[in-house]
C-alpha cells in the first residue's frame, strides 16, 4: 500500500497560484496518482489523475517528476470557493491499493 505524505494545511490569497506537494516514496510501477477535493458535508470529488510528466485539465495541473516519488497539484488563481481539503492518492487500476486517503491538505483561501 503506497501511503502518501502531504502538508496538513496551507493558506493562500485569492488570485494566487497554489501548489500542493505529495510524497509517495513507495509508489509502484502500475500505480496512478489521483487528487480529490472535499468540501465540508460533501463526499470527495475527483480533480485530476496522472501517471507521469504533466497532466492539465480545466481545473488543475498535475506535475509528476521522472522518479514519480512525489507529485504536485497546481491550482491556478484560486478563489474563496477553492477552500477545501485536498487528498493525494496513489494506486493501481483495480483493487483496494488506491484507496488510502490520509488526512489531506486543508487549503484556506483568504480574501
Amino acid at each position: 500500500l503506497a501511503k502518501t505524505t502531504q502538508p496538513i494545511s496551507m493558506d493562500s490569497y485569492e488570485g494566487q497560484e497554489v501548489n500542493i506537494t505529495c510524497s509517495h516514496n513507495n509508489i509502484a510501477t502500475n500505480d496512478y496518482i489521483t487528487w480529490y477535493q472535499q468540501f465540508p458535508s460533501q463526499g470527495p470529488r475527483f480533480i485530476i489523475q496522472g501517471y507521469k510528466t504533466k497532466v492539465t485539465n480545466e481545473v488543475a495541473s498535475l506535475f509528476i517528476p521522472a522518479d514519480r516519488k512525489s507529485s504536485t497539484l497546481s491550482l491556478p488563481r484560486v478563489s474563496l470557493s477553492d477552500t477545501a481539503v485536498y487528498y493525494c492518492l496513489v494506486g493501481g487500476i483495480t483493487g483496494a491499493n488506491n484507496l488510502f486517503f490520509g488526512t489531506g491538505t486543508r487549503l484556506t483561501v483568504i480574501p
Partner: protein, 114 residues
Amino acid sequence: EAGVAQSPRYKIIEKRQSVAFWCNPISGHATLYWYQQILGQGPKLLIQFQNNGVVDDSQLPKDRFSAERLKGVDSTLKIQPAKLEDSAVYLCASMTSGRAGEQFFGPGTRLTVL
C-alpha cells in the same frame, strides 16, 4: 447523469442499536465502495465490491459490520450493534471498471451514536 444516491442523510441511534445505510451507485458502475470518515480524518475504505462480489473487505470490522450488494447494483451497509466510536460519515462511491481512480462519491450518511 444522476450521481450516487445515499440514504438516510442523517441518523442518530443509541449504542448497541442497529443501523443500515443504503447506496445506489451511478448506473453502469461495476465497482462500489463504502468508506468511513471520522471527523478530521480522511475517508477509510471499509469494503469494495466488483459487481456483486467482494474485492476487499480487509478493513471491515466483521464482528459488527456487514455489507451486501445484491444483483450488482444497490448496496447496504449494516452495523449491529453500534458503538460510540462508529460515529462518523459513511460514504458510498462508485467507479466504472477498468478506469483508474476516478470514483464518484455520494453525499454520505452522518451517523451519531449516543
